[in-house]
């Protein structure tokens, strides 16, 4: 690379960093004040893009940018007032879930309004040409973006440090209760901050339309990039977001410029890993302030009673009898339910007793699925062996990713798991030779003796029932107790000789292993694997299942999986906007059953 090429790539990185900064700054601001990780932030960005493309055809590019940003800000305010305001007191995970429902709704809104095709925006009038820099052409518009990033940073900085409102925002970021106690109108503050954050995301989206086409896939890609930026920079720190956006923007530009676009994510991952090991709270972040009030009271967890065990055995017998009555589609659906019950239960193991919420659990599900496919197709292993060994792929992934994740807790951990899942997804998506790239793998069929629907159903029933029994047994083993102790009070656990991190790491790996088993079963039941198997929506589905059933209950995830799988199956058949429908259902559940269905039923019975 010559000197001038390096300079040009550097400038490219700077212009990419600007939009990234706008999104990440908004995310960071919103989290700082409301303590909500806004999953829908990428959707707001996407909305900004679509709106700007649509508006610029009518009122011109320059007028469309501020108008799109303002519209997105207004949309953000509406979301805050109609939805988030009702759930500030709900558990963190329910808040995340609610914002994910918004992701689904916005995606289908965009699909309905602008169709599934990517749409390119116009060039920016007045900045359509190129300038010569060090003997090479460089787009004028990119220069403009380079200037805009720091300008917005400066304006935000002035707003936060020089105005009374900004001081309130910073005070609320440090100590929300105290600001409330001083008589500040929190409602107004929260809405305003959410509006500002949404507006920034919309602005970021609107500004990139001359460079990138608006597409329906951009929302999750942007939000996971923003998560990386925010985690690296430090949650709640605007200068941190700026610094990290520059860092990530440059890494991307140089990887692409050097012709290694495929390793971009790997390099991002390494940078993030190094930062997190050296500074767990990000470059300029600070440890989260402890919340006041009584420590979160975790519900006691009792081993299943004799009657509960009998009921589960009866259920097992009932499921075993089903093929006598039906052999059609019901068996396929029930196989799905079994597989997802195991997937959800494995997630529950780390979320419930472990207290570690994962937003990327599908990574291990997918690693198991791809492991099975690769063993069968590329290494010509027999199906039985492939099924047995595939979970080890997931275990290997969990060993590596988990090592980093257990160093963090709460939302930091959740974001990191999501970033890892996104990395696993893009590896599966890009590594054509092994994973079949975007087409995935086909012909992952079970051995001949398991080829019939009934035979495979029985195999799935046996494997899943055994795995579930083992998982639940684990919860009440000394290891499971040590895990729960580490969640209840890490301080006390360490002080009685429990190596908290090691225990959590082991639990992460157990959860990964069982998710991998579910994934391998899934691959053989479908006969094919696509990158969707380990995409972020799949991870969120797992979360929805667990939360539907209730985190505090042992068997909840199984009921949640059954309900969700059935629901998705009946909604998605023949309905174009099934995502929005599922989003609506999630919202309804979050607002109506903050403790999950099983928790709700149990409460009713207790009354």
């Amino acid at each position: 690379m010559s000197g001038s090429a390096v300079l040009l790539q550097f400038l490219n990185g700077l212009s990419g960093a600007s939009a990234l900064f706008l999104v990440a700054a908004g995310l960071s601001l919103i989290f700082g004040v409301t303590r909500i990780v806004n999953f829908a932030h990428g959707s707001l960005y996407m909305l900004g893009m679509y709106l700007a493309v649509w508006l610029s055809a009518r009122i011109g590019f320059w007028a469309s940018v501020p108008l799109a940003a303002a519209l997105v800000a207004a949309g953000g305010a509406a979301v805050e007032m109609l939805l988030l305001r009702r759930i500030y007191k709900a558990p963190e995970l329910f808040q995340l879930l609610a914002t994910f429902a918004v992701v689904l709704l916005v995606k289908d809104l965009a699909l309905w309004a602008w169709g599934p095709e990517d749409t390119l925006g116009p060039r920016a009038p007045g900045f359509a040409g190129a300038v010569e820099i060090a003997g090479r052409a460089f787009p004028q518009y990119d220069l403009l973006l380079i200037g805009l990033g720091p300008l917005v940073f400066l304006l935000l900085y002035l707003l936060l440090t020089k105005t009374r409102w900004g001081i309130l925002v910073r005070a609320a970021t440090q100590d929300r209760e105290m600001v409330g106690a001083l008589g500040v109108n929190q409602k107004l503050l929260f809405t305003a901050v959410f509006m500002l954050g949404a507006g920034l995301a919309g602005l970021g989206g609107a500004l990139v339309i001359p460079r990138e086409p608006a597409s329906l896939e951009i929302d999750l890609a942007v939000v996971s990039d923003a998560f990386v930026v925010v985690v690296v920079g430090g949650l709640g720190s605007i200068p941190g977001a700026f610094l990290a956006a520059l860092l990530i923007g440059e890494i991307k530009a140089f990887c692409i410029g050097l012709g290694y676009s495929k390793i971009t994510l790997a390099v991002e991952f390494i940078v993030m890993a190094v930062v997190l090991v050296l500074r767990p709270w990000g470059l300029l972040g600070r440890p989260q302030a402890a919340m006041r009030g009584p420590a979160a009271l975790e519900a006691p967890l009792d081993p299943p009673s004799g009657r509960a065990v009998a009921a589960l055995l009866a259920l097992f017998a009932g499921l075993a009898a089903i093929p006598a009555f039906t052999t059609g589609y019901t068996l396929v659906l029930l196989t799905d339910v079994l597989v997802f019950a195991l997937f959800a239960a494995s997630l529950h193991f780390m979320m419930g007793p472990g207290g570690m919420a994962s937003f990327g659990h599908a990574a291990y599900f997918g690693l198991g699925a791809y492991g099975a496919g690769v063993l069968l197709l590329r290494l010509a292993a027999p199906m039985e062996l492939a099924l047995a060994l595939a979970p080890l792929f997931a275990l290997a992934g969990a060993l590596v990713f988990g090592w980093f994740c257990v160093r963090l807790s709460g939302v930091y951990l959740a974001m990191l798991t999501l970033a890892f899942a996104q990395i696993a997804w893009s590896i599966a998506f890009q590594w054509d030779a092994v994973t079949g790239g975007s087409n995935g793998l086909i012909g992952v069929w079970p051995a001949a003796w398991l080829a019939s629907k009934t035979a495979f159903y029985y195999a799935a029933l046996l494997v899943c029932a055994a795995a579930l029994a083992l998982l639940w047994r684990l919860v009440f083993s000394p290891f499971g107790y040590a895990l729960r102790a580490s969640r209840d009070s890490a301080l006390r656990a360490e002080a009685i000789g429990i190596p908290v991190r090691a225990v959590q790491w082991a639990a992460f790996c157990v959860a990964g292993l069982f998710a991998g088993l579910a994934g391998a079963l899934f691959a053989f039941s479908k006969g094919s694997i696509s990158p969707e198997t380990l995409s972020v929506p799949r991870s969120v589905e797992g979360l929805v299942m667990v939360l539907l059933g209730g985190v505090q209950t042992l068997t909840g995830p199984v009921w949640g999986a059954a309900l969700f799988t059935w629901l998705e199956d009946s909604v998605s058949r023949g309905f174009e906007y099934w995502r929005a429908a599922i989003g609506g259902v999630i919202l309804l559940l979050v607002l109506a059953f903050p403790r999950g269905v099983a928790g709700f039923v149990r409460e009713r019975i207790a009354r």
Partner: protein, 246 residues
């Protein structure tokens, strides 16, 4: 050989010297109180002793073994039990399960994955609870206990590994006066019968002068006096710190 020997222990937060060049020893069978006004450095000192904080300088030895740089769970293995100023127990477990948890750790069975934890060490747990007077509440969830009872559960947890050194950070804060005596009496018996070294911080001077065999006074991160309760009571510097003048 002293059970605990501390030499030249120092810790600064930014520019503030929280603990400066602190040296002392605690022998087996002794009950030593560490006192001082708020901000004197007592908690910082304690947190360095059990590995929660890394000291900037100094030496901490349990018998022959150096504790500096070890994680809290390793320090517990070597024989240091601890209770916290703000009690820390496992809220989702019953009182008995809390103690069972500590006993599982004591018996090195944390990696066991197929045995049933609720059936482990039940008698041993009940015996420990009997000792701290919590046997009758063994089945209750920790989350609903009165504060004084939580302190006793913590003591049972700290004793599960048969420590050589017991660290108690404000063991009687939040307790009724009658309960305070009972708990400290128990600590004194343990020190006498098991040759346990006990180090505790305390604001209640009745407890300090009633149960400590020796008192160390910290002020602004440094030891300004140490000796028998009577010696410390008569020390002019201590009077100055506590009463404002001599």
């Amino acid at each position: 050989m002293s059970v605990l020997s501390v030499r030249g222990l120092s810790k600064a937060y930014g520019g503030v010297q929280a603990v400066h060049n602190v040296s002392f020893r605690v022998e087996g069978g002794e009950v030593v109180a560490m006192i001082g006004p708020n901000g004197a450095g007592k908690s910082t000192c304690f947190n360095m002793l059990n590995g929660q904080l890394a000291p900037d300088a100094g030496e901490i030895k349990l018998g022959e073994a150096s504790l500096v740089g070890l994680a809290p769970h390793r320090i517990w293995r070597l024989g240091v039990g601890r209770t916290f100023q703000i009690t820390a127990t496992f809220g989702s477990m019953s009182v008995r399960e809390n103690v069972q948890m500590a006993l599982l750790s004591h018996h090195r069975r944390l990696a066991s994955i197929l045995s049933s934890a609720p059936r482990c060490c039940v008698d041993e747990a009940d015996a420990l609870l009997e000792r701290v007077g919590m046997r009758s509440q063994a089945g209750r969830p920790c989350a609903v206990l009165a504060y004084g009872d939580l302190k006793r559960v913590e003591l049972a947890l700290a004793l599960a590994h048969r420590p050589r050194l017991l660290l108690m950070d404000e063991p009687t804060a939040g307790m009724a006066p009658g309960e305070r005596g009972e708990l400290m009496q128990l600590a004194a018996v343990l020190a006498r019968d098991d040759r346990l070294a006990v180090l505790f911080t305390e604001h209640d001077m009745d407890v300090v002068f009633g149960y400590a065999s020796r008192v160390i006074v910290l002020h602004m991160g440094e030891i300004i006096a140490s000796g028998t309760p009577d010696e410390v009571r008569a020390d002019p510097r201590v009077r100055e710190v506590y009463l404002g003048d001599a």
